[in-house]
C-alpha cells in the first residue's frame, strides 16, 4: 500500500538491491533515513524500535570497548596497586610505564622480529592458502574430498598436543630459533581455515572469467594470478587479517621454538620481561597496549572488507 504513495522513493532502493549480493550497500545506508515517517516501509521501523535498537547497540558497543579502554587507562597509572583503585589514576596519569618498557627491554628488536614473523606468515600463509583454495574451487582431482576433509580435521588439532612433536621436527630440520621455522608453524595453523575461506570466496567468482583467461592463452596458474587474485581482494583481506592476528599475539609456540632473546617475538619478550617484574601489573598493561596497537592498525586497514570477505567464505563450504 505505502509503496504507491511514494513512487519516487522507489528508485534508490532498486538501485541498491542488486548490490546487496556483493557489497554492503553503502549507498542505501543513509538515504532511506531521511524519508518522511508516514511513508514508512520495510527496513524502517517505528521510533520505539529505533530507540531500542540504538540502545542495544550502544550497550553492546560499550561492552565491546570497555576492556580495551580499561587496560589502556590502567597502563597510565604509575604504581603497582593502582589497578585496585582505578579512580586514583586520574590525577597522576603518566606515560612512564611506556618509556620504561620501551627503554629497558629489547623492544625494538622484538618488534622487528614480530613484524618479520607475522608479515611472513601473512604473505606465505595467504599465498599458499589462496592457491589451494583456487585449486579446490575450480578443479576436481583425485584426492579432492580427502584434502577438504584434511583441512577441516587439521583445525581440530589441539595445539597443546602438537608442540612437543613439532619441537622434535624443527630441531631435526635445524629450524629451531629461526624465523622460517616459526613462520611455517604459524602457517600450518592458519592455512586450513584460510584455504577454506578463500575457496568459498573463489566459488562466488564466475567461471566465465577463468574461461575468458584461458581463451586468451593464460595458463591456469596465470589465470589465478592475473585475474582471480585481484578480484578476490576482500577474501584475501580477511585471510590476511586472520593470519596476521594469529601470528602477532601468539605466545605458546613462539616461546617454545624461539630460544635466544634476540629472536623473541614481541609477545614472548614482553611477557618474559613482565614475569621478571612480578606483579607489576601497570607494566603488563602498558605492554599489552603496545602489543595491541599494531593489530589495531591492521584491523582498521582491512575492516571494510570484513563483511563481504567473510560472507562469501561462510556461505559456501
Amino acid at each position: 500500500m505505502s509503496r504507491q504513495t511514494a513512487p519516487q522513493t522507489e528508485e534508490p532502493d532498486q538501485a541498491g538491491s542488486p548490490m546487496t549480493l556483493t557489497a554492503d550497500r553503502p549507498a542505501a545506508e543513509t538515504a532511506p533515513a531521511e524519508r518522511p515517517a508516514k511513508a514508512r516501509r520495510r527496513g524502517q521501523s517505528s521510533p520505539l524500535a529505533t530507540v531500542l535498537s540504538h540502545g542495544t547497540l550502544i550497550v553492546a558497543s560499550l561492552v565491546a570497548l570497555f576492556p580495551v579502554l580499561y587496560i589502556a587507562y590502567i597502563s597510565l597509572g604509575p604504581d603497582d596497586n593502582d589497578y585496585l583503585h582505578p579512580a586514583k589514576i586520574f590525577d597522576k596519569m603518566t606515560f612512564a610505564n611506556y618509556t620504561k618498557v620501551m627503554n629497558d627491554t629489547g623492544f625494538y628488536t622484538w618488534f622487528g622480529n614480530s613484524a618479520i614473523v607475522a608479515g611472513g606468515t601473512t604473505v606465505i600463509g595467504v599465498l599458499i592458502a589462496a592457491s589451494t583454495g583456487y585449486a579446490v574451487s575450480r578443479m576436481r582431482f583425485p584426492g579432492y574430498r580427502q584434502l577438504m576433509w584434511t583441512l577441516l580435521v587439521t583445525q581440530m588439532f589441539p595445539i597443546a598436543v602438537l608442540i612437543v612433536p613439532m619441537y622434535y621436527i624443527l630441531s631435526n630440520l635445524g629450524m629451531l630459533d629461526s624465523y622460517t621455522g616459526l613462520i611455517l608453524v604459524y602457517s600450518s595453523t592458519t592455512v586450513p581455515y584460510c584455504a577454506w575461506l578463500l575457496k568459498g570466496y573463489f566459488d562466488t567468482i564466475p567461471m566465465e572469467i577463468d574461461e575468458a583467461g584461458r581463451v586468451d592463452g593464460l595458463s591456469p596458474i596465470g589465470t589465478f594470478w592475473r585475474l582471480i587474485l585481484p578480484l578476490a581482494r576482500p577474501g584475501l583481506a580477511v585471510a590476511a587479517f586472520y593470519s596476521f592476528l594469529t601470528a602477532w599475539g601468539e605466545v605458546a609456540y613462539a616461546s617454545t621454538f624461539m630460544l635466544s632473546s634476540d629472536k623473541y617475538t614481541l609477545a614472548v619478550g614482553l611477557s618474559s620481561f613482565v614475569s621478571e617484574h612480578d606483579h607489576q601489573w601497570q607494566l603488563m598493561a602498558a605492554t599489552s597496549v603496545l602489543i595491541a596497537l599494531p593489530a589495531a592498525v591492521v584491523f582498521y586497514l582491512v575492516q571494510r572488507h570484513l563483511v563481504t570477505g567473510l560472507t562469501a567464505g561462510a556461505a559456501k563450504s
Binding site: 547497540l57 553492546a60 558497543s61 565491546a64 612433536p165 586450513p192 584455504a195 595491541a292 584491523f299
Partner: protein, 316 residues
C-alpha cells in the same frame, strides 16, 4: 591396451598437474608439521613415555629412548582406570557444557546484533566497527584485561556492587571461575559470528522479503521463514567452526587461570597440564588425551554433517 593406459595416465597427468602443483605447498607443510606429529602422537599413546625416559640431549651425550610399548593401556587407564571420573569424565562433561553454552551464546548474541546491524540506521558503520573490535585484540591482551576487571576490587565487581548484586570471587571460586571463563570467551567469540551472519543476512535476496510482505507475513513469520532458511548454509558452517574452536579453546582458559583452577580446565588445557605443567611430564597420557579429543571432534563432525545432509534433503 598398453598405449591406451599410457595415454590415460598422460592425460590425467596433464589434467591434474596444475591442481596438484597448486595444492602441493599446503600438503607438504601440513604433512610435515601436522601429519608427522599426529603419527608420532598416536605412537606415543601406545607407550609409557614420560619426560624421564624419552631420548634427549644432555651436553654432548645423547640418551636414547627407554620407554616401552604398552598397547592400549593408556586409553583403558584414561577411560576406565581408577579415578577416571576425576581425571577424564569430569573434564569431559565440563568441556561439552562449555562448548554448548559458549556456542549458543556466540550464535544467539551474534545473530541478534547482526539483525540490528542489518537495519538501515544512522551510525551503522560505526557500531559495526566497534563491535568487531574484540576480534582484533590479541587474546593474550584480552585475557589480561579481563583478569584486571574480574579481580576482587576490579571493574566488574565494582559495577555489581553499584547495582547491589552479589560479588563473586571470579578468579578463585570454582563455579564463578567457570562463569568467568564463559564470559570472557563469549566476549572473544561474538564478533566472528556476528560478522559472518551479517554477511549471510546481506546475501539474502530482498525480493524474498518483498514477496513475503505481499503475502502478509508478520515480522516474526518473515524471520522464521525467510531469514532463518536463508542463513542455513552460513549457520551450519559457523556453528561447526565455533564448536571446533571452542572445544579446543586453549588460550582463554590457560591464560585466565594458569595451572590453578582444576575444576575449570577443559580437556585441552588439562592435556597440556599433564604434558607440560607437572614433573615428570607424562607425554603418553597427554598424547592420549589429545587423540581422544581429536576423535571426539571427528565423530561429532561426521554426525553433524550427516544430519545437515539429511536436513538439506528434507527441506529440499
Amino acid at each position: 591396451m598398453a598405449v591406451a593406459v599410457a595415454q590415460r595416465i598422460r592425460l590425467s597427468y596433464s589434467k591434474y598437474w596444475y591442481a596438484y602443483a597448486m595444492i602441493a605447498p599446503v600438503v607438504i607443510v601440513l604433512g610435515v608439521l601436522v601429519g608427522y606429529p599426529l603419527v608420532r602422537g598416536v605412537y606415543l599413546t601406545l607407550t609409557n613415555a614420560t619426560s624421564l625416559n624419552v631420548g634427549r640431549q644432555i651436553g654432548v651425550n645423547h640418551i636414547p629412548d627407554s620407554f616401552d610399548f604398552i598397547g592400549l593401556d593408556n586409553y583403558a587407564d584414561v577411560l576406565w582406570g581408577p579415578t577416571a571420573y576425576d581425571r577424564f569424565w569430569s573434564h569431559f562433561i565440563w568441556t561439552v557444557a562449555w562448548t554448548a553454552i559458549c556456542v549458543v551464546l556466540h550464535y544467539g548474541i551474534g545473530l541478534g546484533l547482526a539483525l540490528l546491524l542489518n537495519r538501515k540506521m544512522r551510525g551503522r558503520g560505526l557500531y559495526r566497527l566497534v563491535l568487531i573490535l574484540p576480534w582484533a585484540v590479541p587474546t593474550f591482551v584480552t585475557v589480561f584485561s579481563w583478569r584486571l576487571m574480574l579481580a576482587d576490587g576490579g571493574a566488574v565487581n565494582g559495577l555489581l556492587s553499584f547495582l547491589h548484586l552479589p560479588e563473586p570471587a571470579w578468579l578463585s571460586d570454582p563455579l564463578a571461575q567457570k562463569a568467568a571463563a564463559i564470559l570472557v570467551n563469549t566476549w572473544v567469540g561474538v564478533p566472528f559470528m556476528m560478522i559472518s551472519l551479517l554477511g549471510g543476512l546481506q546475501s539474502i535476496p530482498q525480493e524474498l522479503y518483498e514477496a513475503a510482505e505481499m503475502d502478509g507475513a508478520s515480522p516474526w513469520q518473515r524471520f522464521r521463514h525467510v531469514t532463518l532458511p536463508g542463513l542455513r548454509t552460513v549457520s551450519s558452517t559457523v556453528v561447526l567452526l565455533g564448536v571446533i574452536w571452542t572445544f579446543n579453546q586453549f588460550a582463554v582458559i590457560f591464560l585466565l587461570f594458569g595451572s590453578g583452577a582444576p575444576d575449570a580446565q577443559i580437556l585441552v588445557t588439562w592435556a597440556y597440564r599433564l604434558g607440560f605443567g607437572q614433573q615428570p611430564s607424562d607425554y603418553a597420557q597427554s598424547a592420549t588425551y589429545g587423540i581422544l579429543l581429536l576423535s571426539i571432534l571427528i565423530v561429532f563432525t561426521t554426525f553433524y554433517r550427516r544430519w545437515l545432509a539429511r536436513n538439506e534433503k528434507a527441506n529440499g
